[in-house]
């Protein structure tokens, strides 16, 4: 495996990690607010709070990791995306800042105000929408490049069918992934009332998820045929993804083996996400930047890979400890600790 490919695989894995943990977090924020206005708040808040409180900071790090690693492995990305993403990037940054700080203010402050909950819920949908536009832009066709200057074609972006299907998929996925996880978590907590509500959410967001996925499939064939045809070459990945989707929904429907059902959800997204990513290669930004012409020097690549391995050796046991204490500890989940 070349350094380039190794680098992008590592980064893509971080992004995948972010998609999963952030979706749980974003969706939880939305459900938290939604249930508080429908009056079912007290039932589900406990489950959501118990999960979110110790892990919220960790979520953000996945994104920063991906981003810093991307600059390290592929410095030219900084030039292209940095220059073009000033406005969407700043807006996403502001949303992330509002979300992170108001979560803490709401959670560690003594008074629980509805409007902080609202901000927390709303940003949970706006952030994935704004971040997903980066993937849209990477497909090409939204940049004006003239005489060494690059800029973003906003009207092209906002009127593009493809761009909107990606946004819809991002938001729907957030709600689906989150609901599936919280269903499992509520089940573990033995909280049947919360479980029933969350299971209903998980099931009702499943159909929109698969519809939105097909919509993106369809629109990408119009937008970037080259990418689409490479996706067809990898069609087994997308077929597997669909099968895991069916498996997950079936288990939730039958109220059986909910831990496994969430693993299926993760596999569903893993196959779709890596399939999409593999077909996207070699381009980081179609057609201007590929992983081969934007790559860093060999010394830096080796240093970063060593760091990455050493870092994982430190982080995996730490993450395991965090999970053991809070996510996989029955006593904690059930509120006994």
């Amino acid at each position: 495996m070349s350094y380039e490919l190794l680098g992008i695989t590592v980064l893509w894995t971080f992004l995948y990690g972010y998609v999963i943990v952030a979706s749980i977090d974003f969706g939880a924020g939305f459900f938290n607010y939604y249930t508080s206005i429908t009056g079912k708040g007290p039932i589900v808040h406990k489950v959501i709070d118990r999960y979110l409180s110790p892990v919220w900071e960790v979520t953000n790090v996945f994104l920063v990791f991906f981003y810093v690693g991307l600059i390290g492995f592929f410095p030219s990305v900084a030039y292209y995306y940095g220059t073009t993403l000033l406005i969407p990037g700043s807006i996403a940054t502001i949303l992330l800042a509002i979300r992170g700080s108001y979560y803490a203010f709401h959670h560690y402050g003594p008074k629980k105000a509805k409007w902080t909950q609202f901000l927390y819920g709303l940003t949970g949908l706006l952030i994935p929408a704004s971040l997903s536009t980066v993937l849209t832009i990477s497909e090409g066709g939204y940049l004006n490049v003239s005489g060494g200057n690059v800029s973003l074609d906003y009207s092209g972006l906002f009127t593009s069918f493809y761009s909107w299907t990606v946004i819809i998929l991002a938001i729907v996925s957030v709600l689906y992934i989150s609901a599936c996880f919280l269903t499992y978590y509520a089940h573990k907590a033995g909280d049947t009332e919360a479980f029933d509500i969350l299971r209903k959410y998980a099931l009702s967001w499943s159909l929109p998820t698969i519809l939105a996925s097909f919509l993106v499939f369809l629109s990408i064939s119009h937008h970037n045929w080259e990418h689409f045809s490479r996706m067809l070459d990898l069609s087994w990945m997308f077929i597997l993804s669909s099968l895991f989707f069916l498996g997950a929904v079936y288990l939730i429907w039958k109220k059986q083996r909910l831990g496994l059902s969430f693993i299926f959800v993760m596999l569903q997204y893993a196959f779709a996400f890596y399939g999409y990513g593999a077909a996207h290669l070699p381009y980081l930004l179609y057609p201007y930047l590929s992983i081969y012409d934007g790559f860093t020097n060999e010394a830096m690549a080796i240093a970063l890979i060593i760091t990455f391995v050493a870092g994982l050796l430190l982080l995996i046991p730490s993450l395991y400890l965090l999970m053991r204490l809070f996510v996989f500890s029955n006593q904690y989940v059930q509120g006994k600790k």
Binding site: P75, A78, Y79, T83, L86, G89, T93, P110, A303
Partner: protein
């Protein structure tokens, strides 16, 4: 109307974000040391006051951490959005510590999450205390790595650059450049000093307001002990920083000291003002002091600004930042020293009003010194973003609308600043000390 200049707005926006972030980053690095000491003393002496102290400091700390995290994310993204050319060059040369910093922060975040929710979960009280060690190390390591990046911008080594092509990159050498030792230690020591003084100033405020519970006196003594230790460290390292500058960035030292002509036995200029011909007036002059600061010898030669082309001069305003930083640093060391003398003699009362007032203003002043120090460090490097290789103006984005983004971010920081004050007030109002002491079974 001023013409739209993306470089200027990018500089203002970066400065605003960093200036705001620095407050929380400093506290984030410094406060875990004090919490750890409090919890440790609490266990060792079996004194629940210290245990409550650790709990209450943590409660305030976590809220400032949240703002530190989000503003840290903001600055890391802004570096690419506002300085795309710089980040491309940095990616090739100094990406290693940037990447390491993320790991360090990840490590810190995981254990902070565990620490917060396990106060009563372990049988051994040491187990909970030990969880804070990774938080302390992670915070310190983050500061270490990110400071090496800043050090690199001041004295870039570890690569060859010819005709626009980078070769022979050595990431380790780039990280451990000549500026690293003084930069990193100065950042760390001043963070511990500032965090300690902020906490001391809160304790002093409570005592001055007539709350004479022994809890506040213990809080004051602990934080003033840390403050004195790190005030001395910071001053010593500051002196070494002067020697680093004299050797590697003489133009920065010369600008900070308004030292125009190369001479032996150079005079140190304090305060004062400059006219359009760079003539100094109304300044306090200390003979030979600049030579001592620069080389440790009264007769040593100190390079003046005259040796550099005027377009490479840093802005001369950095002189005032330098003076602010040094003056406040001296003040803090003096206050901490007096506190200890007063405390040492039983006959003297260390809780007298003037001393308490000095400690109270010491907290905010320490933070001001941190800001002044960073303004001196950053503006003193101008016109370069990577000294000798890339000018700030070449590094900035060419995008439109940086001005609009600036206003949006200023608004964001204002809202965050107001919110954090309100929330902190509410947090401590909702659980007053007496109530918490009772809850822990004391009094």
């Amino acid at each position: 109307m001023v013409e739209y200049d993306p470089v200027l707005y990018s500089r203002i926006l970066t400065g605003t974000t960093l200036g705001f972030h620095t407050i929380f980053a400093t506290l984030g690095v410094g406060i875990p040391l004090l919490i750890a000491l409090a919890e440790w003393i609490g266990i060792k002496r079996n004194d629940l006051h210290y245990h409550v102290l650790a709990r209450r400091w943590t409660r305030g700390y976590i809220i400032s951490v949240a703002v530190g995290v989000v503003t840290g994310t903001a600055i890391s993204l802004q570096l690419s959005l506002l300085w795309p050319n710089f980040m491309e060059a940095a990616g090739h040369t100094i990406a290693l510590p940037l990447f390491l910093e993320t790991f360090a922060f990840f490590f810190e975040a995981i254990f902070l999450g565990i620490y917060l929710y396990t106060w009563d979960r372990f049988k051994s009280r040491y187990a909970h205390f030990l969880l804070l060690i990774p938080v302390f190390i992670g915070g310190g390591a983050s500061a270490f790595f990110i400071s090496t990046v800043n050090a690199f911008m001041n004295s870039p080594i570890g690569f060859n650059y010819e005709n626009g092509i980078l070769t022979n990159v050595n990431p380790i050498m780039a990280m451990f450049n000549p500026a690293t030792p003084t930069k990193v230690t100065h950042v760390l020591a001043s963070s511990y000093l500032t965090a300690a003084f902020i906490l001391a100033s809160i304790a002093a405020f409570s005592i001055l307001r007539g709350r004479d519970h022994v809890y506040h006196k213990k809080a004051l003594k602990l934080s003033m002990t840390v403050a004195l230790a790190f005030a001395i460290c910071t001053a010593l390292i500051g002196d070494l920083s002067g020697k680093y500058l004299a050797q590697y960035q003489p133009e920065k030292l010369a600008a900070a000291e308004w030292h125009f002509e190369t001479e032996k036995g150079a005079t140190l200029i304090f305060a004062g003002s400059l006219d359009e011909n760079n003539k100094i007036s109304k300044a306090i002059e200390i003979p030979y002091a600049l030579s001592i600061l620069a080389h440790g010898i009264p007769g040593a030669e100190v390079i003046g600004l005259e040796e550099f082309p005027v377009e490479d001069w840093p802005p001369l305003v950095v002189h005032y930042y330098f003076d602010w930083m040094v003056t406040i640093g001296m003040f803090l060391a003096l206050v901490a020293f007096i506190y200890f003398c007063m405390q040492y003699r039983k006959k003297w009362n260390e809780f007298n009003k003037p001393l308490l007032s000095a400690i109270i203003v010491g907290g905010p002043l320490a933070m001001l010194a941190i800001e002044a120090g960073w303004f001196m460090a950053e503006q003193g490097r101008q016109p370069w973003i990577i000294r000798g290789f890339m000018r700030t103006a070449e590094a900035a984005t060419t995008s439109n609308h940086v001005d609009t983004m600036l206003y949006l971010f200023i608004l964001l920081y204002l809202i965050l600043a107001i919110s954090i004050i309100i929330v902190l007030k509410r947090v401590f109002k909702a659980s007053p000390l007496e109530k918490e002491l009772k809850k822990q079974g004391i009094e």
